[in-house]
Symmetry: C2
Subunit: 417 residues, 2 copies
């Protein structure tokens, strides 16, 4: 019944186009500012069914997101609803998740996008380059799954602390920028014995606190440079501030935190940074233990898939034919195939991959037609990557709830009437 009411509210909002809804949300903000708060609250009350807990509104810095598509956990953690993922491969920017470790810098940094500068160090001829400089040095475009390290944390029965993401802290994004290797070549190559590529974010740090304890600075193995970009564009538009514009380091196949926003320093280094976010944060630590440099860092993504439709949030399903749809990616490898089970993993059928293949780091969308009888059904999916690696049945237990790619954890139990 609750679900039905939600559906109805959704339909009312669909009178306007998806982006029209942003406008409405934005207008509400503007009208509040103009002293029309009472009207606004009344309109919002009508939009939210009285028996449904009110969803948190979009934070002020991203009122342009599609409110209907997002779950707002906190002002810095927004998840895409499972039911919002379409079948067009690319996740629209206004539906993409947000996870910011620090508040976004002041919007003045995108007043002059071409003027943003990054210091490139640990190369033969270190130099500070502006975005304008970078734009003259090369161009590459790549589709890539951007996924928060903690996506799927909400499926750990141990409930690790941190945002309880289900599947929506991920999206497939087209990035455009200059290959890092082209920049490195232009600066004479990497100095000897520098096994790490270290990116430093340009966030404004809080005062009176050790910068190393909060700053966003991440090191990845230097081999990740091969396909990395310094990107200024996503999904056809300049990268919005909330997603790291004017310039973001893109490290395909690596979890979100390694894709440093507002990058101001790109250094090839002998050691990993000693910033807390690297030293103790984002480590696969045994449950109950604090993060330690001896624990593996959260870097490469593993093969993973999940079902987007039918979704339990859409309410009970009527028996009959259904198209089971979802997404699958290989992390650092391309997708080879996807299998789907409608009996909780006892038997599997090969799904069909849908739409153009956008490359090794993109996700593929898959579909399997099925006929479901009344009753309860547990639907699971499992991807096999181009190297033959299979998405695992179980998760790797860890204190931070990172890297959950267990197919069993991601299985959905559907009620069919």
């Amino acid at each position: 019944m609750l679900l039905k009411q939600n559906e109805k509210a959704d339909q009312t909002q669909q009178l306007a186009s998806p982006r029209r809804r942003h406008l409405l949300a934005g207008s509400a903000v503007a009208m509040t500012a103009a002293g029309l708060a009472a009207f606004t609250r009344s309109a919002m009350a009508q939009a939210v069914a009285s028996t449904v807990p009110a969803a948190k509104p979009l934070p002020a810095y991203v009122t342009w997101k599609d409110a209907n598509a997002m779950i707002v956990h906190t002002s810095s953690t927004l998840e895409t609803k499972r039911s919002a993922f379409g079948t067009s491969i690319i996740t629209p920017t206004d539906q993409l998740y947000i996870r910011n470790n620090l508040p976004a810098p002041d919007a003045s940094i995108i007043a002059d996008r071409d003027g943003w500068a990054v210091s490139v160090e640990g190369v033969k001829n270190p130099r500070t380059l502006t975005v304008k400089d970078l734009k003259s040095m090369g161009l590459e475009t790549m589709a890539m799954v951007l996924q928060c390290s903690g996506n799927g944390r909400g499926l750990f029965p141990t409930k690790p602390s941190g945002t309880p993401w289900q599947v929506g802290a991920a999206g497939c994004v087209v990035w455009s920028g200059v290959p890092v290797r082209a920049v490195v070549e232009a600066l004479g190559g990497i100095n000897e014995r520098m096994p790490y590529m270290t990116g430093t974010g340009g966030e404004k740090l809080p005062e009176g606190i050790d910068p190393k304890s909060v700053m966003v600075e991440r090191s990845v193995p230097v081999k990740a440079m091969a396909d990395a970009l310094l990107a200024w564009e996503m999904n056809g538009e300049p990268i919005p501030l909330a997603h790291g514009g004017p310039l973001r380091l893109i490290v395909p196949g690596y979890t979100g935190v390694n894709n440093v926003k507002y990058i101001k320093r790109l250094a090839f280094t002998a050691e990993q940074t000693d910033a807390a976010i690297q030293k103790t944060g984002y480590r696969i630590s045994p449950p109950g233990q604090k993060g330690d440099p001896s624990h593996p860092s959260v870097w490469e993504m593993g093969p993973k898939s999940w079902i987007n439709s039918p979704a339990p949030e859409s309410g009970p399903l009527v028996a009959g034919p259904v198209q089971i749809k979802g997404v699958a990616f290989g992390g650092i490898n391309a997708v080879k195939s996807v299998e789907v089970s409608v009996d909780g993993g006892k038997t599997w059928k090969q799904a069909r991959l849908v739409g153009p293949d956008m490359g090794r780091y993109a996700w593929r969308q898959f579909v399997l037609p099925a006929t479901l009888e009344p009753g309860s059904h547990t639907i699971a999916c499992m991807v096999v990557d181009a190297e033959g690696n299979r998405q695992p049945e179980g998760r790797v237990e860890n204190a931070g709830g990172y890297n959950n790619n267990s197919w069993r954890d991601h299985a959905l139990t559907l009620s069919v009437v």
Copy 2:
């Protein structure tokens, strides 16, 4: 100088993210409605440099478009600015052109998207199918260049009547829906001797006028069915009303008008429709003549390419290295290669194709690094399709200004200082 001022206004607006700008535009509309017109006009006056003619505002039904990216010709004809085309292949929905032959139907038609119905006729078992029915019948996803038949009309020296589009009445869109052939198979196949596929749009027609004189009903050769879709999603979101949602006929490789919006009837027919838009409209008629069924209909697109950057609208270029970037597509065939000339077509160099290949009907983005000396340079590009067809040097003269894919007409003359 005018250009400089424009740039400055753009930069100011870039303080907000691209979609934040929609919000601002939208808020202005809402505030006007609330009686704050004076404030709004003042804010708009500040945003528009006084010596620059004021751009037309976005029409009310598409205030969610990116005002900064669009040229508003009329309320039903909006063009993407050349400088807004990025290098991420897909054209974001909020930057895609609009060309509607009739005003969009009432927004109530997308209150219940799954309930929209299309009558399928000229098949063994004709049936009316809802979007919900169609969603259970199959799924395909395809990237396709959507291009207005008149894109490039503004480059005809004869100035044919109609919107003087330059290059921006086109975009590359990802569509998702059911293949028409799957629907036809499910309904027993096409009746014998039906050489045309005819789609009828659901626009609300003005009263007191012969419907045939204004209705949007288009016939294409039945072979176009092979890759056609009945689509409910574009670029990852339900198709907005302004772009033909809840359901649009997608005929890959055919000009925009053949991709019927709000499709309510899909018929396999013995003859082309006698609606004016088909019978006399959209014909390649000799200059000075009215359209006639004996003239070729505007159907398949030819190979075409153009340069997006550097763009003359961005002002004089400083001598030195530059990345020449643009888009190229083959129409009904895939792109094989693109050549670029910086001397007005005397000599050509092969450009590099950038980013994933999204299939036969998508466009490819290309780049050619060059070094430009001070002076005037005429830059041209030319695509060769997979069948070896070359983009022609000249246009086919015609009364309506359709199908301009002349590389010479599309060449840009740049001033380098």
